[in-house]
């Protein structure tokens, strides 16, 4: 089998297993209150990490500052103006595209 197919199959199976692990391990069990409290704080912690890594992450680790940061700033400005989600995302994309045109 070629390296391509081995990687497709192994990565596919591993990803499916990782995604299913939490829902299968915690099946029908209500976690104790402290664990539940921690679980309810997973989302903001992970969302914040996703903002940081998606806005600043480089291709091979480390930081890359580019037009994405300007886009994110525009998105944040739209949020401050209470714009709906579609406007926030569009403002970010259009700003990043314009910065790339100019630079």
């Amino acid at each position: 089998m070629s390296a391509v197919w081995i990687s497709v199959i192994v990565v596919g199976l591993a990803t499916m297993a990782i995604k299913a692990a939490g829902p299968l391990l915690l099946a029908r069990r209500t976690p104790p209150p402290r664990a539940q409290a921690a679980l309810e704080h997973l989302a903001p912690a992970l969302l914040a990490a996703l903002v940081v890594t998606q806005a600043l992450g480089g291709d091979n680790g480390g930081f890359t500052v580019d037009a994405r940061l300007a886009g994110l700033a525009a998105g944040a400005a739209a949020l401050l103006l209470r714009a709906p989600l579609l406007v926030v995302i569009t403002a970010a994309a259009v700003t990043a595209a314009l910065v790339r045109v100019v630079s």
């Binding site: 390296a3 391509v4 081995i6 990687s7 497709v8 192994v10 990565v11 596919g12 591993a14 990803t15 499916m16 990782i18 995604k19 299913a20 692990a21 939490g22 829902p23 391990l25 915690l26 099946a27 402290r34 409290a37 921690a38 679980l39 309810e40 704080h41 997973l42 989302a43 903001p44 912690a45 992970l46 969302l47 914040a48 990490a49 996703l50 903002v51 940081v52 998606q54 600043l56 992450g57 680790g61 480390g62 930081f63 037009a67 994405r68 886009g71 994110l72 998105g75 944040a76 949020l79 709906p84 989600l85 926030v88 970010a92 994309a93 259009v94 990043a96 595209a97 910065v99 790339r100």
Partner: protein, 230 residues
């Protein structure tokens, strides 16, 4: 601050799958465009036209798929490609845990529904109380799955016809989406602290670890939520 998006004004439990589809539509456009560019990159990396599509259906996680295509395309080893992709997808461990109590039904149905979890569908399904809305998760996940897979098919067969998503600024759409959903979550002080903690952990680790690890480690900031029982 009120929630940024129109759909989120609904009562919890009053949402439908269609609400999830609608909510994910704007980011679905970006997912489609990046699906195309994955298809183009995979073809350039000699992955053929069937394997990239199979990968989009089974792995369904953009960053890991890009990592495999670029490592194999650059002549990197099979093991390097697999390890990089699995590290990138380890974040679905904690993300899956946070979704666990939301999914219903027998084990096979929970395992199947969990496959629709990607960063964006999971983010869109967030409720203010830190739990997930299953209808939004499934609706958004299905739309993103169709967008990503369709994009991959277009990219592998007709990729030359489509513009580079980065020149359209679409890579900036993703952090903006996550920020928008974080915005409405972080109103409560302890959640704001968890967000600051997660961002700090990610920032500190990014220069030192490969991609993927900073997000997994950031999940530890959820421990801020554990306080003395009242």
């Amino acid at each position: 601050m009120r929630r940024p998006a129109d759909f989120q004004a609904r009562e919890p439990g009053r949402t439908t799958y269609l609400d999830g589809v609608r909510a994910a539509a704007p980011i679905g456009v970006a997912a489609l465009a990046f699906g195309v560019s994955f298809g183009v990159l995979a073809r350039a990396a000699d992955m053929g036209s069937v394997a990239p599509v199979v990968m989009s259906v089974t792995t369904f996680a953009g960053s890991a798929q890009f990592a495999v295509a670029s490592i194999l395309g650059a002549g990197g080893g099979l093991v390097t490609a697999i390890v990089a992709a699995v590290l990138l997808n380890l974040r679905y461990g904690p993300i899956g845990l946070s979704a666990a109590t939301t999914l219903e039904g027998p084990w096979w149905r929970r395992a199947l529904t969990a496959q629709l979890i990607v960063d964006e569908s999971w983010a869109i399904a967030q409720r203010d109380d830190g739990r997930l809305d299953r209808h939004l998760l499934v609706g958004a996940g299905l739309l993103l799955f169709v967008s990503w897979t369709t994009g991959t098919v277009i990219g592998t067969f007709a990729g030359d016809l489509v513009a580079d998503p980065e020149s359209l600024g679409l890579d900036a759409a993703f952090p903006a989406l996550f920020l928008a959903l974080l915005w409405s979550q972080a109103r409560e002080r302890s959640r704001l602290l968890a967000a600051l903690g997660g961002a700090t952990i990610a920032l500190v680790l990014m220069p030192f670890t490969g991609p993927g690890i900073p997000i997994v480690a950031a999940s530890l900031a959820c421990l801020i939520g554990v306080r003395k029982p009242s």
